[in-house]
């Protein structure tokens, strides 16, 4: 069977709609080449168009795949960042519960009651009484007169 006969058979099969992808590819390759017999030239525009379409679909597919990969990685990065932030917040919150402590002579204690006692003690140190206010207002040399 000559190549031309083979192409004719494939053409018949094509118009019957029973060609495989590989056979269609063969037809497209054949009709986009230069040496086409005159009687078959009538089919050339069809297969040229089909070939263009096939190429376009292939390019779109590739673009779509690379776009999908880009989106996939971007959203992956965003999700990872958010997870990192959430993790850090959770860690911070956990640490916050350990934020109550007292350091005495360089030793750290996390006993809350002890910390509260020491905090109260320090607060008492800076607090003032009516006497303190009076003492601040009345100069030392004038106090004798008041006593």
């Amino acid at each position: 069977m000559t190549k031309k006969e083979n192409i004719r058979k494939l053409l018949d099969k094509y118009f019957e709609g029973s060609t495989s992808c590989k056979e269609e590819q063969l037809l497209r390759n054949y009709f986009t080449s230069c040496n086409i017999p005159e009687d078959l030239k009538v089919y050339k525009p069809i297969f040229e168009y089909m070939d263009e379409q096939a190429k376009e679909v292939s390019t779109t597919k590739k673009t779509s795949i690379s776009h999908n990969i880009f989106l996939h990685y971007t959203w992956g990065a965003i999700a990872a960042t958010l997870l990192l932030i959430l993790g850090f917040t959770a860690y911070n919150n956990f640490n916050h519960s350990n934020n109550n402590y007292v350091i005495i002579n360089g030793e750290k204690y996390t006993n809350v009651r002890l910390a509260q006692q020491q905090a109260q003690k320090a607060f008492d140190e800076v607090s003032f009484s009516k006497d303190d206010v009076t003492n601040d207002l009345i100069p030392e040399d004038m106090k004798e007169g008041f006593e």
Partner: protein, 150 residues
């Protein structure tokens, strides 16, 4: 996509801004850091879950004996307080022979509704007490608490 990245950066910036420690940036944090772990010192830190009834979110106190040697003595401590005093809205001080004996400072708010206070006192035995308070409590509430203690 640029928009999403922009939002993400804003989110991260917001997160870090919120988490910045309020006490950082104040000179007294150096005092807490220097004397906090020294022998003879007592440093306490309490956070919001314990302080909520006092309208405080952070309480740090340090009781210590300022060093008489080196350059981290009482003068350095008062210098640190004086630096932070520049940002104070309210100042009450008592001085003896030109030296700071006690100080009460209300600093500018770190964020809306969060007041900051520094309290300092040195007693006759040269024991100093430095306190940093942060929270929604106002000046009057704090003074009432301080006045009622003795």
């Amino acid at each position: 996509m640029k928009k999403e990245i922009k939002y993400l950066i804003m989110l991260i910036m917001f997160f870090f801004t919120v988490n910045l420690s309020a006490q950082e940036g104040l000179q007294i944090s150096d005092v807490f850091q220097y004397y906090g772990k020294e022998h003879g010192s007592t440093m306490v830190q309490l956070s919001s879950e314990i302080l909520s009834s006092y309208n405080m979110t952070l309480y740090i106190s340090l009781s210590f004996h300022p060093s008489t040697k080196g350059n981290k003595g009482l003068d350095w401590v008062t210098d640190c307080i004086n630096q932070d005093k520049k940002r104070a809205k309210k100042i009450k001080e008592t001085m003896l022979d030109g030296k700071l004996q006690s100080g009460y400072y209300q600093l500018s708010q770190i964020q809306k509704g969060t007041n900051r206070f520094i309290l300092f006192k040195i007693n006759q035995k040269q024991k100093a007490t430095l306190i940093y308070i942060e929270g929604s409590l106002d000046s009057a509430e704090l003074v009432t608490m301080l006045f009622n203690k003795k």
